[in-house]
Structures are given as C-alpha cells and as structure tokens.
C-alpha cells in the first residue's frame, strides 16, 4: 500500500500551534511510542494518541483525515497526559489537530 507523504506537514502544524494562536506547541516529537496513553484511554481506541502522532510526524495527511471521527471523540480528559513518561502535551496536540481539521477540512473559523 502506498501512502502520500507531505514533508511540510509537521512544520505546518507546528506553526499553527505556536504562532497563529499563541498556545502551546504541537510536541509529538517527544512521543517514543510506549503505548501508556493507549492503555489508559477510557475510550479504548487504538489510534489515540500515539499512532496518530506518529502519522503527524511522518506527514501522512490522508491517514489523519481518515481518523477525523476519532480525533473529535477524544474526551480531552488528560488521563493519558497525566501518565505520559515523555510529558507530551497530548490534549493540546489533539486540540491543534481539531483546529487544523476545522479550518482545512470543514471550512470553519
């Protein structure tokens, strides 16, 4: 299976996080894929959040687009973030992804 990669995606999303809104930076880089977040998620979704952040790092925009329902179903409850050994801003990352989707996919501002 071939996946389209957007090498600029990471920078694009980092810019959205850091500059335009002035909130925390999208820091998926820190994730080392240990799976603590997935194990603790009350929703039990496998996609959230480590696989998703991995896709962001690789610039797999189409895959991220396919995960829109999961991205919007995150509870933002911070159970994952509270226990993340790398201190990834998981909930803020999810919010930044929502912001990106709202603007680029849904045309919402």
């Amino acid at each position: 299976m071939v996946s389209r990669v957007n090498p600029g995606f990471r920078r694009e999303i980092a810019k959205l996080g850091a500059d335009e809104r002035g909130t925390s930076e999208f820091n998926a880089e820190a994730c080392f894929n240990c799976g603590t977040c997935t194990a603790l998620c009350p929703l039990g979704y496998q996609i959230l959040p480590r696989k998703l952040f991995h896709e962001v790092r690789l610039g797999l925009e189409d895959k991220i687009r396919a995960e829109i329902p999961q991205i919007f179903s995150c509870l933002l409850c911070r159970m994952c973030e509270e226990n993340c050994p790398q201190g990834v801003h998981i909930t803020e990352n999810m919010r930044i992804l929502r912001y990106l989707i709202n603007r680029q996919e849904f045309g919402l501002k």
């Binding site: 809104r21 933002l76 159970m79 509270e82 919010r95 912001y99 709202n102 919402l108 501002k109």
Partner: protein, 342 residues
Amino acid sequence: MPIPIAPILGIFADNVRKRGSVLPLSKRTATGWARGLNLPRGGKTVLYTGHMYQMVPAIDAMSFQLSLLENSFLTRFFGIGRLVNKFISLSFFMGLTASPKKQRHSDQVLRDIVELLRGAGVEFGYLYEDEFYAGALLYDDGLDDAFGEHARRVTAHLKKLGVRRLITVDPHTTKMFRQAYPHFVKDFDIEVVNYLEVLAEKHPPAVAAVSGEVVVHDSCVYARYENISEQPRELLRAAGLSVREPKLSGKATHCCGGPLESLFPAEAHRISGNRVDQLEAQGKNVVTMCPFCWVNLTKAAKDRLVVNDIATTLAACRRQAASRPAPAETAKPRVLQAGGAD
C-alpha cells in the same frame, strides 16, 4: 450515518458569534436561579456561573434528540439545519425541551453555592444578564478563531464593568478563564478562583452533628487541569461525611463521558455506564462537582445510585448541623439522608 461533525460545530460557532453562546438561553433560564437571593449587581468580585449549570439541562435534551438521529438518514440534512440556524435559533428551540426537574436541580445547586459562600463570610456580586458563556465547547472542539473572538469580547465586557475577581462554580469555566483566556487575550489580568478553593481556604470547622458516607466522583478538569481534588474532600470531611474513593479517583479519575454528548451520544453512554459500575462498587451516595458529570451519571445510573452535586450535599449538611438540637441531645450524630438536599 454517524452525526456529522462539521454542521454541529458550525452551529456552535455561529451561535457564539451571533447569539453569545453555543446554546442560547432565555434571560429567565440564565438568571432565574438568583431570584430572591438579593445578590448585589456587579462589583469587583463576582460569582461567575458561565451559564454552565443553567445550560446543562438544555444540552442534555439536545443530546437526547441527537441520539435519536444518530445513524439515521436524517443526519444528511444537518447541513441545511446549520443554514436555517443562522436565521432562526434551532438550538434555542431544542433547549426548550429541557427537563424542568433538571433545570430546578441546576438552579438549586447555584443557590446552594451562594448559601455556602455567604455562610463562609465571602462577599460577592453577580452580573445577571451581563454574564456570558465562557466558550468551553468552542475551545475544546478546536474552534479557536471563534473562541478567541469570544474570549476577547467577554474580557472587554468584564473590564468595562470593573470586575477584578471571578469566583467560578464549575470546572469548565474555571479552566477557560485560567488556562485558555490568558493565551487568547492580551494582558488578561482578572483573578480567577473557584468556589471550592475559596471555601476550603476558609477551613470550615468540622461538624459533628452529621454523619454519612459519600463516594466522590472527581471531574477530570478539576483533578487534572486545575489541581482541585483535595479541597472537595476536605470540605466533605469537615461537613461530617466520610469519603469513599472509587477504583479511579483524584488525579486518576475516570471520565463521565460528558464531552462526547453532542457528537457521539452512544459512546458517551458507554463511558458513563463504565463509570457508574466503578462508583457503585463503593456505595450508593455519589457526589459530583461538575454539571455535566451530574447529568451523565444520573442518566446512566437510573435508580442504581443517588447522585448529588457537592454544593447540594455540603449545603444539606450545613442545614442539618444548624438545626441540631441542644448539645445534651447531640451525642449521636444525625445520618445524612441519601439525596442530601432537605
């Protein structure tokens, strides 16, 4: 078809821009709870409800209606619904189907909060119709452009009214003002405290006239965003109650499913059901601290649990203690009845 995300979020953003709230409320619903309390209008320190308690019955009604449409062909027409909503507030009409019983409950919680703060000697005013929704749903759903505009509008309004200190009453409004507004509003300098912090700082004296046991359900936002988990326990113990902890509590609390009510109702019900099982293992009398937790757990528990807001429980203890008989007759503590409120 699942409920389409874009039109629902579009309605939220349109409503805030046009009508000041994701779910516009009538003046009576928003401020009616304060009738007869003689709260001074405005002032430097105000109790700020952010309309959350008042709005929850309407959100619950809307979520029920959406759950009926989930996976039906009617979801295809949600885009048209958004268009119509720009001219006629559909969400306002959906809110009219809110349960009067739940509305009375929300109003009573706010009145109990006022009673507790006054009992602790705290002085504050209320903004009545000058109070606005803080924008939590916009922020959480990543509608940052609409949220930023709203946050700046609300802040300018508060500054114009001379407000310097907000006493918030729910976790979401607290988080908005303390964590989101400072990022979106330049030089946001209004002090924000939560009423549970204010009450705990007063170190209420322990009450011996009441006894009973409650299971505490922490709000995710209070526990993990706002570091408010010790204060409610301290207040409950001081009120004479013993506190039981569910399997997941404090910083490790389990979500009530509330954040998914508007977009994924079925999933929200599954999560609240899981939480009810955990709470039930520790007892029947459950205390919540957030209007969304209360409505979701009440719905999921049906008659398995008695769920009360912490303000209602603390106020009931206070009233029971105040009505205790002469000291000679107080050897045996009175047991707080399930339900808490008198």
